[in-house]
Amino acid sequence: MQRSLLAFAGLVAFLLIWEAAPRLGLISPLFLPPPSTLPQAFTREITGGYWLAAVLASLSHYLIGLALGTGLGVALGIATALYDRLEAVLSWVIRLLRPVPGLAWVPFAIVWFGIGEAAATFIIVIGVFWINYYAAYGAAKAIDKDLLEVADAFGHRGTWAKLVKIVLPGSTAGILSGVRTGLGQAWMAVVAAELFGVPGLGQRMIQASSLLATDVVVVYMITIAALYGLTDTVFVLIRDRLLRWQR
């Protein structure tokens, strides 16, 4: 209770300072639009129909990209953890590709997929792939060998049986911490992915910023923050359900 009060007080103080700075003439409102101007900008965006269209378009890139990137990253992470040879074959390929930033893939995304949904989704997939790859790899590598032996002792000798009965449930906590990092990372990737003209929140932000409509930029910053807050809250509920066996 006291914690939520403090959190609320912190937020109010933040908004007050933000509002005061441009109003007291400490900074130009163009550089920092005061929060009181935002509802107006927000209403304009909604009544113009831009807001909902952008949110829906970005949500669709986000969800598809997140699902694909997470799925592929987790699958490859677990596969390399289970098969030493695969890990050996991929070790330098991974070192080569891992440090390439998502934005560097934009030209390739355009060449391979054209300017459209698929290209945007690809950028998001890249944005969350590695986080999930390393989280799943680490979690699967850290599986308690004693539990794998229990599976052996009770007749579950095959890799598939061990995967389903021990490795996946045993690495859920580690995998989910990667997924959670990916949830935020994917929203950042959404903006990058829409920079080159794919409709969505990112594109709308770029349009507004090129017109120096900083209040509109802030409206979309807050929109993304709200969408992230929502996805993260839903995620935490699901995670706590999946990990209810933990202390």
Partner: protein
């Protein structure tokens, strides 16, 4: 490793011949191990550390291949059963499964549908006296309760041979005694053949009909002690303490003889 034999001439369940155990390319730690286990018997294996007691159980359960020798045991594929089950030293419960599903784990892949597996798990849980714990998570249990679940998981597959690897060594003295009595009751009720590895000579004499002392380098059977004390056994009778003392004497002798131990 276990080969079917067609016509058991005696009531021997397991026939072990010239078994050798080695780690990697090192010389064997145990060699020439030959013995039989009578159906329904309770045998304890004792000996100093490093003679391969735990590895012997791993070989008998099929987790490790022996360096040499054979283990023969009649194996018939039966629904809902496994011929051999292992009770680990630490409980090794799967933390993401509730108690009931942990007990049912051993039955997965034995051809029983899920509902029957859970029914069997519930019965076995009642057998070890923890029926009311079915819905708990492993971390909510005490050490003694966890070992009971470990035991129930192995018993649920109705094994012919139950291998126990110092299952009570990490428990406090009172819990250990309770579980020893519990194990004897389960043995009487199920007539499962028991092979029990322990460091604790008192425990071996309290539980088993026969105590095999391993020692030497490479290790082998130093002596095979029959324990003919009536049950329930009383640790305070001279007969009991004499038996323990006899085994301890043979153990110290084998340790002082054994080169470099």
């Amino acid at each position: 490793m276990a080969r079917p034999i067609n016509n058991p001439v005696s009531d021997m369940l397991v026939d072990i011949k010239n078994l050798a155990i080695a780690y990697g390319d090192a010389p064997p730690v145990l060699a020439g191990f030959t013995t039989g286990l009578e159906r329904g018997s309770f045998t304890a294996v004792v000996g100093p550390s490093g003679v391969g007691k735990s590895t012997l159980l791993r070989v008998l359960s099929g987790l490790t291949a022996p360096a040499a020798g054979t283990v023969e045991m009649p194996v018939k594929a039966e629904r809902g059963r496994r011929p051999v089950a292992l009770v680990f030293q630490e409980a090794r419960l799967l933390p993401w499964r509730r108690v009931l599903e942990n007990v049912a784990f051993g039955l997965e892949g034995t051809g029983l549908p899920k509902s029957e597996r859970l029914t069997r798990a519930r019965e076995t849980l009642a057998l070890v006296g923890l029926a009311e714990m079915a819905g708990r998570w492993p971390h909510q249990l005490s050490g003694g309760q966890r070992q009971r679940i470990n035991l129930a998981r192995a018993l649920s597959v109705r094994p012919d041979l139950l291998l126990l690897d110092e299952p009570f060594s990490a428990l406090d003295a009172i819990t250990r005694q309770t579980l020893q009595d519990e194990l004897l009751r389960l043995w009487r009720e199920t007539r499962t053949t028991m092979l029990f590895v322990t460091h604790d000579l008192d425990e071996a004499v309290y539980l088993a009909d026969r105590v095999i002392l391993l020692g030497g380098k490479p290790a082998g059977i130093v002596r095979d002690f029959p324990v003919d004390l009536h049950r329930p056994r009383d640790r305070d009778t001279p007969h009991f303490t004499d038996t323990v003392r006899g085994i301890r004497a043979a153990l110290s002798e084998s340790v002082s003889d054994g080169a470099g131990i």
